[in-house]
Symmetry: C2
Subunit: 199 residues, 2 copies
Amino acid sequence: MLATFFATLDAVIPLDPSVKASIGQLTQPLHVPRHTLLLQEGQVCRSLYFIGQGLVRAYRQQADGREITTWFAAEQELFTSGYSFISRAPSRETIEVLEDVTGFCISQQALTDLYEQHPVVDRLGRRLTEHYYFQLEELFASQITLSATERYERLISTAPGLLQRVSLGHIASYLGMTQETLSRIRARPIRPSGPTRSS
Amino acid sequence: MLATFFATLDAVIPLDPSVKASIGQLTQPLHVPRHTLLLQEGQVCRSLYFIGQGLVRAYRQQADGREITTWFAAEQELFTSGYSFISRAPSRETIEVLEDVTGFCISQQALTDLYEQHPVVDRLGRRLTEHYYFQLEELFASQITLSATERYERLISTAPGLLQRVSLGHIASYLGMTQETLSRIRARPIRPSGPTRSS
DNA sequence: CAGACTTTTTGACTTTAATCAAAAAAAGGC
DNA sequence: GCCTTTTTTTGATTAAAGTCAAAAAGTCTG
């Protein structure tokens, strides 16, 4: 439903009905089944997507064939292959649908039109980009400063539902460790997380 | 000189003279000596800076007292403590002047005024944020996928001058390794970077 | 529900980089 | 220029996570 899409955007910056009308006109409904590759490495990402229902991930294929998951996106989230979409350059990442997706998409051209028609969309884009920047900044900091175990614990607290929906292999590569390491971390007894008195 | 500042902005998006006039009015000249802390952890970052001459770094202090350098900025670059500046929240990073800086700064309020006066500044901000996002994305990918040696080699090719200007301790924490590890990497014989025939 | 395929776990071993400690080299201040 | 302070290097050892291999558990599908 478009309403949830608008609600998500309104939370970033309240939009006039005229802006919403334009967005509504330029937005296409989207229905893609599991296992679909919405974008393959080397292609230019021509759309910005909004997920009403479902789950996707992006990954980069390394020279040795290994896949590194770079992000996940689920309900009420926007996604695209950022650099490719903005710069019209071939993408270095592949976008894979992990759970059937229903939602909306906006083409590059449609977004360009929106930018020209409504200056507030530039502000919306700025706010969203800022938001994603700060999120990435924290993720990066955690990668530099935390151990494998701490990164796993951080994921549990920032995205508790994800573990139940995504295979451990994908999670492990997202956390910058091997599947075996993640499996061993999970097998370890839970460490006490604070002073607990058992009288 | 303001001209180099405008040239940097013009490279992102060409600005009308009226916009430049507003920017010029709201911009303060900046002169800070080496060792100055432009921002300390816990303070709100109230300015966006442009460097005409000089070099700064940002770092986070970890619980164990260790400093992790999160970025460097030098000539013709903008910097601020992003999240703090945008959200008016206490900064988690400290900004330290490594080489005397001359440049300009714009206050939060001035930037807000600019956004209201000239919609094109929203677009400028969006483009700049996008640019920094993609840069961070690549840095993050390199952290996940590359070995310590490869990360060092990447830095040499992406920022060749930095090594001559910054201490190894700062570089090492920026690259996510210890100073000792970086020192050992540098001491190692240069590995052949391609097939070379010695007839 | 049986077999095939995929995912997760476990084990033994290796590699990479961190840690702790100290020496050597370089930079700064008087 | 000399002494102090900081930075960088070197050495020995440890810890963390990766690798390779195989077993176990879980899923999908006809």
